[in-house]
Symmetry: C2
Subunit: 320 residues, 2 copies
């Protein structure tokens, strides 16, 4: 099943949601998003994980809307946003969000992102246009752990990389293969032991149906991060950070890691951001799954509110 | 001689110019530029070649100012703009210019760029924010010819790539080696015959002193263009194009190319842009050197004025 690049070309795969969806033309991509909350409240941009669409935040959004004007997006290659073959890099995705903040949000923003979205939250905290970002939440981000040649700790091949490679191999760029059953059968022997135990459902889950598996190739091969060394990026962070660290285990025999980022790597993140002159609030949730914002939205929101209050940010002066 | 990343860190290398220089903070980089012309005239952004600073356009700028409000920039890694180790990609450079147009120019713009700057002119014509670009000039751009694995014609290794690799080898990232004499001595036997005849001056010329040789590595290795396939980019062009094609020769025995882009590749550029629905005005100047805008600024300006008149663009309605 060869799917087109715009949402209209693959309309049959989508399902309805509680919040209305909108689309904005950013130039190269049409970006899909949902928004909730009082337009006069502080802005919060939510950035989903790899293979997650905006509605991964659907349960958290009404709670966050008590304090924020919330925007949740589909990144390029996911959901109803444009798929961009050959162009899945963190830098391109980050600059999509720079344009989104300019064109849709229009004022300084707190950003929060999970996993790959957490890397983008870090990217924005370092590389956004001046004044766009007020503060950043890194939700269980695979900093260093998603790199092919990290400055610290294990590379992606010893973490979650093999899952992304497997998705790509059996599903193909833009689902051009789509052999879900072949993938289910192969998973037990293709994946390394620390990943092989994971059960795969009979049919592709909705979030994966909305995912361009070429992402998987870009991340497992390292091309997505080729121009974006994490140590350098973290040394440029310009705003306060909240880092939530979820479940992780290191196999003592092989050194392979279940989880997005090891304790060693998390320590280096905190050290580099601190050296960059920014406060980083590190909170460890060792019992919490990767998708905390869906698994325990109340705790997720409480954690953000608590940190946000502690920052004592000045109220924004309205422009114009 | 290890040089710093901001202009202040390497202030001793710069020389005065006719036009004042200004700097704008784009987030990751501080971008240096000069501007001339009536602020109410149509905007023109000039993008220099690899190893060229903004003042490569210095002779053309007063002529262009008869019709345009002109802005000439130093790209990241060149002149008084920030050097960005590990982050020299066409996508990052293109997005710097998106921010520059937003923050400095502030209205729809004609863009003109030479060589690598011509690739960026093409990038902007395809991937800029909606409405930023009115029309684009590609000055002798190495489209396909700068790629490591091009869809059409020769790869960079059979064109100018070995020069960039040599600069990097002997001068080093951020001039960390700086062995100019070693490079001069090695050039005759390290470069392939079609490039080896070029004489190198006794001392590094000013434009190269202002260049981060890490650019050379990024372009000769292909990493600068890894996320930016030229055929795909050209298929997304959204504005009218002027393509000036300068001197080029193909060695009939080896197939190696002296010049930025072969006739075959130029033909494919025109075909793809036309298929994208945009007019492309192809003008061949087979006797003209690569740096037409410095070598013959009158002809360069006349060519742009003539083409610009032919477009009959609607006057811009002032905003606000």
């Amino acid at each position: 099943m060869r799917l087109g690049l715009e949402a209209e070309d693959r309309d049959e795969i989508f399902v309805p949601h509680v919040f209305d969806e909108h689309r904005v033309d950013l130039g190269e991509v049409r970006m899909n998003y949902a928004t909730v909350g009082d337009a006069s409240a502080p802005k919060l941009l939510l950035i989903p994980a790899q293979s997650e669409s905006w509605w991964g935040y659907e349960k958290a959004m009404p709670l966050l809307a008590e304090r924020f004007n919330v925007f949740a997006v589909d990144l390029r290659g996911q959901g109803r946003s444009t798929w961009t073959p050959g162009r899945y890099t963190l830098d391109n995705m980050g600059n999509d969000l720079v344009r989104f903040i300019d064109l849709v949000i229009g004022e300084p923003t707190v950003v929060s992102g999970l996993s790959s979205g957490g890397m983008l939250s870090a990217w924005l905290s370092a590389y956004a246009k001046p004044g766009q970002i007020r503060a950043a939440v890194y939700e269980d981000p695979p900093l260093f752990g998603a790199e092919r040649d990290p400055a610290f700790g294990h590379p992606t091949s010893q973490g979650a990389g093999p899952i992304f490679a497997m998705w790509h191999k059996w599903l193909g760029d833009q689902w051009s293969i789509g052999d879900w059953n072949g993938m289910r059968a192969a998973a037990a022997h293709e994946l390394p032991p620390h990943l092989a135990g994971r059960p795969w459902p009979l049919d592709p889950p909705q979030n994966l149906r909305e995912y361009d598996p070429e992402w998987g190739r870009a991340f497992s091969s390292g091309s997505a991060l080729a121009g974006c060394d994490h140590a350098r990026m973290l040394s440029m962070v310009k705003v306060p950070v909240l880092f939530t660290h979820h479940s992780r285990q290191i196999d003592p025999h092989t050194g392979r890691v279940q989880g997005a980022i090891s304790d060693l790597q998390a320590g280096m993140v905190c050290e580099i951001v601190t050296s960059a002159g920014q406060p980083i609030d590190y909170r460890s949730f060792p019992q919490m799954g990767h998708f905390m914002h869906a698994q325990d939205p109340e705790l997720f929101c409480r954690t953000i509110f608590d940190w946000h209050d502690s920052l004592q940010l000045d109220p924004l002066v309205p422009v114009g």
